[in-house]
Amino acid sequence: ADLKFKPGEDAKFNWQSFEDFKKGHDLKGQTLTIFGPWRGEDETLFRAVYAYFSEATGVEVKYSSSENYEQQIVIDTQAGSPPDVAILPQPGLIADLASKGYLTPLGDETQKWLLDNYAAGQSWVDLSTFKGKDGNAALYAFPYKIDVKSLVWYVPENFEDAGYDVPKTMEDLKALTEQIVADGGTPWCIGLGSGGATGWPATDWVEDLMLRTQSPETYDKWVKNEIPFNDAAVVGAIDEFGWFAKNDKFVDGGAAAVASTDFRDSPKGLFASPPKCYLHHQASFIPSFFPEGTVVGEDADFFYMPPYASKPELGNPVLGAGTLAMITRDTPASRAFIEFLKTPIAHEVWMAQSSFLTPFKGANKEAYANGPMKKQGEILLDSTTFRFDGSDLMPGKIGAGAFWTGMIDFVGGKSAPDVAEGIQKAWDAIK
């Protein structure tokens, strides 16, 4: 196969791991079907990665994806024709698959590996552990390719021009927000629109603010509904989001525009002339929606969504999301693929291309394709707490339903306690 980076050629890659893996696995003639969420550009990047797997093992990989991959994987597993390996971004969906017995546990060894090799390893193990059909918890998934969500994007030149500094604390961020308004500008671009998924960007806000106002344990309880949705802690976080989003002066277009502006369109305000806003809270993927030719790190940059100075005990929490690989059909090839994901090379090859972050400490940071990627990677590695996107962990009806809708209602004018109560009710209904 065509390998993007010739083995042995570039020192930033850990070629040794590739050679070692190659020695341990010879599965010539076997095939491996992978079903994943990546399409378009991401798919090309991923193909470059698994080319190394094929090269090493001789396994022919068939990758496919689908716009309706959630639906597709449900149908395929239910009907009994699953792929060998599925890679999914939704822990909730994975939990369901696990509980219906469609997944194969990855074993203690893998669990240990994660604990040892991933930054904030326990967070990842917790994330990937689900209850199986038998009711016993086990590690079913392997996190691979992470997105950092706790990022605020801005245009450095605009900051320079206006004389603003990157805020280091949440208090500073709020002050900056007010400052911009005072200067006659609009600080934020917030867009929640996403067709059928409208509302999800708001959940990221709330989760980020949860992690900054509450302990990770509270966050976990919230996600599992061990504290009700309308708990004061949650309502507080929602209101905190409201402080930004429900103020006509703070957001481009006013509060009314928040719900209906497409999240893909909203960062464009940063680059308008005159700028429609100065700040945009969004995950690491967003540069693909910046105007063509925008160079991250120069034309646009990001900073870590700062924590409250008043709550030092919470440290530097990072909200993120990511995809998890799991074995849906236990074959030597699929086992080998999980093993492959444990090699640095599996991470470095993608790191060297772009848009890939990993908490894998064994992967060479220098392999990141550019500065901003590296910076994000460092945020991930430096995190004291890593929490997965809460809405993805909640049951689908909540995390991809009531929570979204609730947020829309919230920016539309409903009060935080009302909204939270409504979501809790929905949650009660599915128990």
């Binding site: 378009g40 994806s65 689908s66 597709q72 149908i75 009907a79 009994g80 030149e157 005159p274 700028p275």
Partner: protein, 381 residues
Amino acid sequence: MIATSRSPLIIVVHLSVLLLVAFWTLPTAGLLISSLRDKDQLAVSGWWTALSTSSQNLTGRAASPEAQVEKDGKFVIAGNLIEGGTSKVSAFGVRPMQPTAFEVGTTADIGDGQTLTVNEDGSYEIVSPTRIEGTRGQRIFYTASVPPRFTLDNYREVLNAEGIGASFINSLTVAIPATIIPILVAAFCAYALAWMPFPGRAILIAVIVGLLVVPLQMSLIPLLKLYNGVGAFFGVPAKTYVGIWLAHMGFGLPLAVYLLRNYMAGLPREIMESARVDGASDFDIFVKIILPLSFPALASFAIFQFLWTWNDLLVAMVFLGTGNNELVLTGRLVNLLGSRGGNWEILTASAFITIIVPLIVFFSLQRYLVRGLLAGSVKGG
């Protein structure tokens, strides 16, 4: 044809059709124009503005300091903001909040003793008494009148995508038999339901109407299970073209039978009787009389069935698979959109690329929707 074509009413007819057509095509026109526009323009200005010259606030960047030349002891960076365009600059600025601070042709002081001049044609000059530092060029905000600008890049991008040709053929391989087979099957069934007496006919018709409502999503899992079972039993792959044809047939049948039966039931009884007296069997009558006379209905249904199978993604994904060799055109195009589906420009262009085949089908089948097919056959009420 009645000789009324010159009555004043006809003008009203023309006008109302024009109005309706305008109303119906306006949104699509937006899509068409959008597909020809620059991807960054899509989200900032309405598609209708693309048709006329518009005044826009734009951001440009001067050449990087590496390009500076020393001239008369001063350091100069010169260039043009508008590459190869015909736009005209009307104002410019150097600070994002005041993008129109200066008239064209005037010289702006940009600090550190540097000055910037921008001319109407977009040419600019930065003059500095000292060497200009840094790696990035100075941002220049300017207001320009932008003439309509269209590009075929979006189409190029879609059409050059890898595997699009194969997907095209895959789509045809799915759509053509998945159109013809159900039509044949449904036509036979419809004939039986319309003209062959047997007990339970009315109930059967109603059941078929009822089946129209079965949500596709409900059938996917049980059917795929069945396919897997059958595939395993015979040792063949579960996801095959035959499988998807049958699936499309199954899902399209209720409507096909319903539409065709209704049409066939309306054919004059005497023609059938006459054929029967002529010694024709039911099979003969069906093939030689009913089929040719049902062309309008067959053509209408063919149009729709083709369209559905052509535009379908879900059924193809489930029953044909998502691998590269089976991927249908819609699947391929959706994949082009990337994982987060935000590329409006690709969406718009691919929408127009997929629409072409169904439109050809519509246009070519439309002539079978003929008038007076039955004229001259029977006399009487």
